[in-house]
């Protein structure tokens, strides 16, 4: 079975990886949900309930991508799960919730490619920014995102249940995101200069 890939422009990163990329589809939950869960929960100390997966996958299937082996039955090798919503700060904010690559397929740029696909999809939908959190000790993940242009915007003390600290990573996609709350950038009326 070859997954349907309409409406998505796919750029195969490297023909040698032997992977095809596909957008998630709610109708194929029976095929994909379990392998996606298995892949993601492998790295988690405490599991997410199925409602967490469905929360993202059913509301934003167009922002979830899978890297599948090109050989049938196309097992999943990597997956990215995200959402896009209006944030209380006033921005239209993309959020990458989960990214996982099977241990046999790491260090091949698959994760980066998935993130790029998601950013493009978010950008096409008018996102102002993309954010995510990652453990401060996860250097592979930090490197991946920082290479794509993400900045560390905050350090979050004991962010995870297991007590580890996180960095919030941030990528602006549109000008004015930093001051959206005020309705765009406005120069101050008067710039004060200290009298000499």
């Amino acid at each position: 079975m070859t997954p349907v890939m309409e409406n998505i422009e796919l750029i195969p990163p490297d023909p040698h990886t032997g992977l095809i990329y596909a957008q998630y589809e709610v109708a194929k939950e029976e095929t994909y949900l379990d392998p996606i869960r298995a892949m993601i929960s492998k790295d988690l100390s405490e599991p997410y309930s199925i409602y967490v997966y469905r929360y993202f996958l059913n509301q934003w299937p167009q922002l979830c991508f899978m890297a599948l082996d090109e050989k049938p039955p196309h097992p999943i090798r990597a997956v990215i799960v995200s959402k896009l919503e209006h944030h209380r700060s006033g921005t239209y904010r993309g959020y990458i919730a989960m990214l996982a690559t099977s241990s046999t397929h790491r260090r091949r740029g698959i994760g980066s490619h998935l993130v790029s696909l998601v950013i493009s999809a978010m950008q096409a939908r008018g996102a102002d920014e993309v954010v995510l959190e990652t453990e401060t000790s996860n250097s592979a993940s930090l490197k991946l995102y920082e290479r794509l242009g993400f900045l560390r915007s905050k350090r979050l003390h004991r962010y995870y249940l297991n007590g580890s600290t996180a960095f919030r990573l941030l990528l602006y996609l549109r000008e004015g995101a930093g001051t959206r709350i005020l309705g765009g950038i406005s120069l101050p009326e008067k710039v004060r200069v200290e009298k000499k």
Binding site: E46, V52, G149, R152
Partner: protein
Amino acid sequence: MTDPEGLTEETARLNIDNDVTTTVDAAQTAAQQPAPVIVGNKRLWDITRQFREASSSLPTGRLIKDQNFTLFESVGALEIMDPKMDSGFLAPGETLYDTYDVLQELLPEEVIGIMDQIMCYEMAWHQGYPLSQTLFTSHYIDRLLWPEPKSLEDAQFDRQSTSNLAGKPMLRILRAYCIGLIKCCDLVIELILRSHYFEEEDFSTHTYNRDLFRRVELDNILPTLGEASDLVDQLAANENISRQQKDLIQAISDRIFLRRTVLIAFDSILLNKRKPEWSPVSNLVSAILDSHPLGKPVSQAFSQKIQRRLTSTVPPRPVVDLEFDEAMKLMKQLSDDCTAAYDVFQCISEGPEPLRSFLFAFSARKPEPLPYARSCVSEGVLARVELHFVDLFRKDLELLVLPDSVVLDPINWTIEAPLSSTPNPRYEMAQLIDSFTSKALPDFGGYMDFWRALTSNRCRLRRQLTHVILGLDELQREAEDMDSMLETFVDDADSNMEEPLFRWAYHQKLRVMQWIVQLGFELDVYLTDELAGMYWVLVSITRLRINILRTIFSFAEARHQIMSNSNMDGSNPRLKQVQKTIDFCRAQLALCEGTEALAEALYTLYTHLHYLHLLPNVASTEPYYDPTLRYEARMKPFLTLQEGFIMEMFGKWNSVIQPFGDFDRPDEDMSAKADGLCDIVETTARVARTAFSNLKGMGPAKMGAERIEHAWLADVNGHLASTIATQLSVSYLRTAIRKRKIRDVILEIPEPGKRHHGWWILPKISIKSS
């Protein structure tokens, strides 16, 4: 909704497969139903058929999502029959609870083993993990606390048997120890709840409906521990026991004594601000570490399954295991930090600068103080009435901009509102300062928030300061109008500085901005390719601060001169006040000038390293890399401030971070520039070194840092060492350039914790030996 029949709830009963019954609120569906079944005060409708019909029309995978079902709820949701989520799920042959005989008398070595395990869980809890995953896994603690005991006597391992611990001295000792421990937890929670903290992030105060002897006074707990000590003494008095047995008894005695010491210390900070006595802890910790191998672990005395009774909605989570050595290290740290924390009570009465120095130094302690110790500090700062902040705020104004000024003369506040239409200047001044104070104090991000921020964890501190600058920016706007009003009431213009309130707010804002940037370095928030730019920002902020400080300094010096000429001697309190401002400005100027110069050195050095391609410029070739957007993202906390240079840099950021054009295709011959750039680094690092040396020579008093002299000295030495390391790095770089050995340069960027000072990230340069 209440109806005439007194039925308070309307529910529909859903009957699935005749044996599982779920009750759902379905009043609307129920309305179509013929006759409800009445059970107690509930009316029930069977909607099984409708539910089946409705659900059969849905294809698999079609999700019906309630609008109110949020991500938060989905994360909290449980999946039945998943062993990791379903708290009632049992593997074949598994029991719901572990059985453990709490009345089985223990060996002394077992009591030691259990006490030491409890200590591990206690310290894990202090780190921020919940009681359910730590102390509440103990069968003994569980039995003492549930069902809720009506009195201390009621708190028994087994309430059924009456004289259950007779003839079981080890269990009696353990019970006393556990009771002492539980009261410790209670006192810790009480203090933390009063402080500025974030649940789960800093600490977990959840007690799962267990009362931790909140109403039992310490005076009632201590005798229980005393009885345990007596029992131990009796055992030790037996002449027939072996050397080995004596050691075991001593080990138990030490543990009881530690519990008693910690308990009294936790209690005393809550009562009358009595100084907690932590000094015995250090020796006890080493003795306990030594005797730890004597203990025998009793793993069955703890069970993860107790969590099932604590909460029904959260699946059992993994028990937190902390090594005993680590736990004792934390206990020692707690005692050191709490001892240091107590100084806050003195600092607050000494004025804003001593308090600021103290809080900053305390929050910078490494390892970072535990939440309880931070709460002790918080208790000193925040548990005070607002009046103290008013006082603190006036002292803050006095020190920087209004030394010996008529504006802050206490007499002004004693003058009543004039009855005639002619204003009384003194009365008006007091009104104005009050109005300014009320604007500065309570607002979100205001002066009180600033002090609150200084008691939070280091990561929060940086983020909370970004709120504080917004408040200060607003205050700065207000200050301009107030200054012009103030001017009309002050007739003796020479003795008062121009625009004092504006200057105070602006200086405070710049100071906080400077800290935000510096904490960014410390917390590793900036990427390597941002360092040059962020040091440039630091230069810009400190330069503005230096301008204000110099203006204030000149004013205060001139004022001092006039006062001295009018035969005031040095001991005159008015003169002393002005002198204090001079001293403070002088020390701050040295610190700022050193900071400005070293930041400039590093800006130049990092920029140079980029042109030499010695630094990774990780993202510059990526499609999503955009310098302007990056600048906007990085400057977000500052974007809405009325701060010229931040806005001016929009679109010009590239000229700051790439002053000679693209790193790969510079506009100028970079090899011709190399020596000149090294010269700049060397010169500015030397300027910084001189400034920091001057500061060191002045000593801590001028900055109000006498109480934290060691920390202050370590801080200044860290700055100094950073200037020296910068000079060293640039000399290696110059050598490499001259010998054309750039390819052999090894460059390291030290991680946090491996730096001379957290705020200075220095490239370490060496040359590969060929």
